[in-house]
């Protein structure tokens, strides 16, 4: 089918073009709202600026297709092949991409608000400045978890999204906004999370070993049972956050604020917590062996049953703190 034939047939009222082939066709700016392209062969087709709202591309082959600036709002693209596709600045609001295969796609500045991205493969894709607000990306029983390994997510908007179980290892999230998002059980190993807004974000049981969180704001964030081994949490704000039972071994926590944070049963062995604000922090049952707390302020902190063998506490302020033996420090 040629592009002209397609446009004429569409204009006559036909909408079902499932299984059709339009290999490398030029459909620039075409208005094809509500079209059915299920299982269609659309490899390298140029849909730049096309209007494809409420369309269906289930199991279609759109590999290396050009969809820059296209409007695909509320379309269904389940199990579609979008590998190496160009979706630069495309509008994909409320699109269903469940189980779509889209490694190395260009989604820079794309708008994926409220999209269904469960079990999607986005490995090594460019999502710089993309909008992923309130997306659904959580694990789904019987399907592999979504893959976002080594993605560029700098300045991406992930507010309020559910990313539970997603593999984000090696991704760059510098300057992203993750506030109120759920990232439980997410793999964030070696990720760059500096200058990130993570206020109220849920990272429970996430693997954040070796991640860089410098200069981030995590007020009220939840890191329960998260693995932050060797992570860099320096110059951050983690007031009122929850690190209970988190693994913070060897982590760098200098010049940060942990005001009223919960660190019940957390493992802080060999952590460097220099010149930080730990006022009113709860370190009940925490393990602080060989941690360095020099110059930090632990005013009114609670260290009941905390293990502080070999903990360095030079110039630490402990006014009103409850010590491991239950005594209140003067």
């Amino acid at each position: 089918m040629t592009p002209r034939e397609l446009l004429e047939t569409y204009a006559s009222g036909k909408r079902d073009f499932s299984g059709e082939s339009l290999l490398a066709a030029d459909m620039f700016g075409a208005e094809l709202i509500g079209i059915n392209f299920n299982k269609a062969e659309l490899k390298r087709t140029n849909f730049t600026y096309a209007f494809l709202n409420k369309s269906s591309f289930n199991r279609a082959n759109l590999s290396a297709a050009k969809l820059g600036g296209a409007i695909l709002n509320q379309s269904s693209m389940m199990s579609a092949n979008l590998s190496h596709a160009d979706l630069h600045g495309a509008s994909l609001q409320r699109v269903n991409l469940f189980t779509a295969n889209m490694p190395q796609t260009n989604l820079m500045d794309a708008n994926l608000t409220e999209a269904d991205l469960r079990s999607v493969n986005l490995q090594s894709s460019n999502l710089r400045c993309a909008i992923l607000r309130a997306v659904l990306m959580r694990e789904e029983r019987g399907y592999p978890n979504a893959n976002m390994k080594n993605c560029d997510l700098r300045k991406a908007d992930l507010r309020g999204g559910n990313f539970s179980g997603v593999d984000l290892s090696g991704s760059d999230l510098t300057g992203a906004d993750l506030s109120e998002a759920t990232l439980s059980r997410v793999d964030l190993q070696g990720c760059n999370l500096s200058h990130v807004n993570m206020r109220g974000t849920i990272f429970s049981e996430a693997n954040m070993a070796g991640a860089i969180l410098t200069n981030s704001d995590g007020d009220g964030a939840n890191f329960t049972r998260a693995n932050l081994d060797q992570a860099d949490l320096s110059q951050c704000n983690f007031s009122r956050s929850n690190f209970s039972k988190a693994k913070l071994t060897g982590a760098n926590m200098t010049y940060s604020v942990f005001y009223q944070a919960l660190m019940v049963g957390a493992d802080l062995s060999r952590a460097r917590v220099l010149t930080s604000n730990l006022t009113q922090v709860s370190l009940v049952d925490a393990y602080l062996v060989r941690a360095v707390l020099d110059g930090s302020d632990l005013t009114e902190a609670v260290l009941t049953r905390a293990e502080i063998t070999g903990t360095s506490m030079v110039d630490v302020i402990l006014t009103g703190a409850t010590m491991p033996d239950g005594k209140i420090s003067a």
Binding site: G68, G69, A70, A90, N215
Partner: protein, 223 residues
Amino acid sequence: MNTSMDTFDILDEVVADMENDDNLLRIKRLLLYASRGEWAKNVDEVVCYGLRQLIEEVLVNVPDADTLKRSLAEQVRNLNSRPEYVESADSIIGTIGFLYPMREQILPKVVKQDTPPAPTPKPEFIPHPFDLRSEICRNASPLQVKILIFSTLYHPFSPRERDWSELNKYDLDDLLQALYQACNSAQEVKDKLYSTAQTSELAEDAQRTAGVIYQAMRSLFNT
């Protein structure tokens, strides 16, 4: 001798001195706190504000040097990195405190009027860039927004072009910030975008996109 010129010179000197202070970020945070009563936790937000703007805001909102001193001392007591903040607070009192006797010359319009307060100067960067981006992209194709702003600020660009390398250097946030900085009023944003849109390849779509951007950016300007 021109008194008003002298006072402006003094304010310039204070700004220039403080810009070189190692504690600049802490100073800005304290100034923001002194004038607005809220502690800025987001570093990017603090960086956004110009020092001159913050000093002027303090001179408008804090009635005298003693009040400023008390407010800073109280906040510094609750902070981490206390020695650095004490140093920053001292630096503020030692310079801005000294500007209070010349407040009327520095801010003639504001101080002479009992009501209404002067509009706050425009911040250097967009205060809530994620919200702005989200609002614009809800109603327009993000690529069309990018191309319209890029064509307005740099040179006309057609989506039919083969070489996208120049456009790909910028993300939408970069372009929105650049447009915001290039304009002094919402009207200027409107004029620039519509002028580019009229000569665009897809003029009708571009004009609609211009309208979406203008509507979203209007509230960023005081006038």
